[in-house]
């Protein structure tokens, strides 16, 4: 369990449009050695294939990210040239198997001799798949309550619904009129002052290129409703008490103090739910000194929690981050699965630990959509 380390990123004043509040995160110095850029897939359904022979399903892939890194920490801007290369639609973008979610790009203008390369991955799918495949293996001990399906196939397939950014009312305008700071490397997106998503990249140029991709990301249903019904949020306008100001220098220092206050308040009040939580981080891929991992919250009940994916450097500082806010029901699902797994999928013991009866637990499991996993008599 560990926390997100956002050191190196400072908060700048928020920009508000309707119900959306965007808080820019600024890096004094871009991270050397890693660049992200976007890969646009052709619109419309794409066929997903695992190995060129087997076609698994047809799905919609709005866009993917490509991470370029250099092993020795030298500036990686040189690989930015790949942005302009004409790329066809991607033939191979596996979605369904966690082990294939991050895929190494083959033979794409990699400089010879350096321990560097590039990795393609689908934003947020890494995190979501981590959540969907939570305790994917299913029960390890066969208790009599469990159906044959649960034993042989685990919990999959599970499905969750999400809204595309374009469907969230007002988000497109908010992103359009947002004024990107020159050194901006990230943004925290609030809808009706609920933290909807955090997005961090290593380099300001990457951010400028990827800013609009927030519109193609996934957002939970809750945020869709917040954006639809939540009224405009107020702007936190600066207030300075005039009585103590006697010179321009004092006015300037007061203004600078307000800026610092905003940064502190934001970290504590608004982004607290994301930053204070400790996460279960699982490494997915190593690339040089960077690690691509996904993280899961502790699934504590009645608390706002986020899942996400991150790239960290050797010191554990966040270089890339993307999060998805879980709804209350999604948290409950994770919670119940966690408790079941902790008690080796034994209903009786789990119920005892949770302080409820077995019937109540079975009812909850059914209500959470895991009905197929239980035998009828349980």
């Amino acid at each position: 369990m560990s926390r997100l380390d956002l050191s190196g990123l400072t908060v700048r004043p928020a920009q508000v449009w309707g119900a959306v509040r965007l808080v820019p995160l600024v890096r004094a110095e871009p991270v050397a050695g890693l660049r992200l850029h976007r890969e646009l897939y052709e619109d419309g359904p794409a066929t997903v294939r695992a190995d060129g022979r087997t076609t698994y399903s047809t799905t919609y892939l709005p866009h993917g990210f490509v991470a370029d890194w250099t092993g020795d920490g030298s500036p990686a801007a040189a690989y930015g040239s790949q942005l302009t290369e004409g790329r066809g639609p991607v033939a191979c973008a596996p979605l369904h198997f966690p082990r294939k979610l991050a895929q190494k790009r083959r033979g794409k203008g990699r400089p010879s001799g350096g321990s560097s390369g590039s990795l393609r991955f689908l934003p947020l799918h890494l995190a979501l798949d981590g959540y969907l495949a939570l305790h994917f293996g299913g029960p390890s001990i066969v208790w009599e309550e469990w159906t044959r399906r649960a034993v042989y196939e685990g919990l999959t397939p599970r499905a969750e619904r999400a809204y595309r950014g374009e469907a969230v009312p007002g988000l497109d305008d908010a992103l359009r009129v947002f004024e990107i700071h020159p050194e901006q490397c990230g943004v925290l997106l609030y809808v009706a002052d609920a933290l909807a998503a955090a997005f961090v990249v290593p380099h300001p140029d990457d951010y400028r290129a990827l800013h609009a991709s927030l519109l193609q990301d996934l957002y939970g249903e809750l945020l869709y409703h917040y954006a639809l019904y939540g009224g405009p949020v107020p702007e936190f306008t600066t207030r300075i008490t005039a009585e103590y100001i006697n010179s321009l220098a004092q006015l300037r220092s007061a203004a600078e103090r307000r800026q610092q206050e905003w940064a502190d308040q934001h970290a504590g009040l608004m982004a607290g739910e994301l930053l204070d939580e400790s996460y279960d981080v699982r490494e997915v891929y190593r690339m040089g000194r960077f690690r691509l991992s996904r993280f899961l919250p502790p699934f504590a009940l009645h608390r706002t929690q986020h899942i996400g994916e991150t790239i960290t450097d050797e010191k554990g500082r966040v270089v890339y981050l993307k999060t998805f806010r879980l709804s209350e029901k999604q948290v409950r699902r994770g919670h119940v699965l966690h408790r079941l797994a902790a008690h080796e999928w034994h209903l009786g013991r789990t119920a005892e630990a949770m302080g409820i009866t077995v019937e109540e637990l079975a009812r909850r499991i059914r209500r959470l959509g895991f009905e197929g996993l239980l035998k009828q008599h349980a």
């Binding site: 700048r12 004043p13 920009q15 009129v177 700071h181 020159p182 300075i240």
Partner: protein
Amino acid sequence: MESSADLVAAEDVLLFVHAAITSTGQREFHSGAQEQQLSLDFLHAYVRINYRPLYAASLALDINDHNAALIVRGLLETAGEATAQERRAEGRLIAARLARLPAPRVYRLFRALRAAKVNNRRTRAIVRDWLAARPDPALDAVKYRAGLKCAARHAHLPLTGGRGGERKDGDGELGDFLFAPGRRTRFATPLLDAWRRAHYEQGALYELPFTVAEGFASKHGIGRRAFLERIAPRMTRLERLRVQESARAHRAEVPTDLRGMPLTRLASYVLGLSLDDRAARRAELTGALRAAARRTAGAQAGTWGRVAAVLDDSFSTTGSRQKRRRPLATALACHFLLEALAECYLPRWTSGRQDALLAYPYGPTPLGMRLLEALEDAPERLVIVSDGWDNAPPGLAGEVLRIWRTRLDPEHRTSVVHLNPVYDAEDFAVRRLAAAVPTAGVRNAEDLPALVQLARFAEGRTGLAELRAHLDDRVRQFLAEKTDEAGVTV
């Protein structure tokens, strides 16, 4: 002592005037065209119904052409609501304003009047007088064929006779040209005949105005380069500026004198060039902008003392697809104009960049911090050109100005004025920064001196009587001025 009703009236009228200066009913960075039009229509109706004489008088101010046309249309549509005396005053103002409007805009207005079925005797007289004052009816017939046709039809104008017996088209040639061009095998007026010949003779189209010839050139499949070079002498000043880049791309020679262009147009042109082009042509462009600014400043040049400016070049100055970089162009033009007006000029761009010529819209709007820096220079005048969306941090600019006025400079040693190039459709006004600082709408930097004068009313303390006096003054000047700018300058 002013009554509160009077204060409200003064405020309403000023609100309207600033809206009428800035808004063009087109899309802006923060609001769509529909919102702008809806908001503007409401303002027009509100002011027309409540303060009709002031509404008409605003025709004498530097409001933009779009709003001038809307006012004229509004006044003519509701002529029944005015007294005979009011109507006479309105008629004079309308005639004077129409004479200053560009011809396409007037023809569009006539078409709108026709669509709205406004066809009272006064409207017909106005159309008739305006057309009679046009310098070259044949040019209008060729260049604004549809417009003239519509106006003539709507106002029942006899295009035969009544236009001076010595003219060749006195025998109904113009009427035939517009309504039955096949009736004659040739026209006596050279321009009309050129139009007829241009249908089959390539050489004839170079006798036509540029916009008409362009259509024929495309019909005859003439190469762009050859066409531009040969038509160049027939272009108007602004057409030359407009086709500069097209000509450059085709390596055609279209001579133009950038120094003679209006300041804000020139700024727009400069901002349309790529940064590399601007850097390469730095001396030429800076020289042209300075010359235009000096010409605009006129006798006031160098009289403003120590002037500081805070100019907005944040991302929101991108404008919209219809108004590309318009707010930035206004700021750039103001920059050069203030440079000419001031004795000592201290500009500050919000992005912190120094090179005005290479300005481009980028980054947030830290107006508050820039204002602090500008005030530290202890200027006599401070001019802010910004759309008023102060966001890094929000509201700091307002606080700085408020505290500056109340605590640090209560005796007004520094005069501060905020010029806003963008109409905020939601607030029915241009966005203000602080109550203590007057805000005025601005469209063309050329109007800056007049706007600074008008802005003193916007502090909210002047009453209706003073405003009325100011308006009367402007109306008198407006009606007395010669309308020498009408017509197309070739």
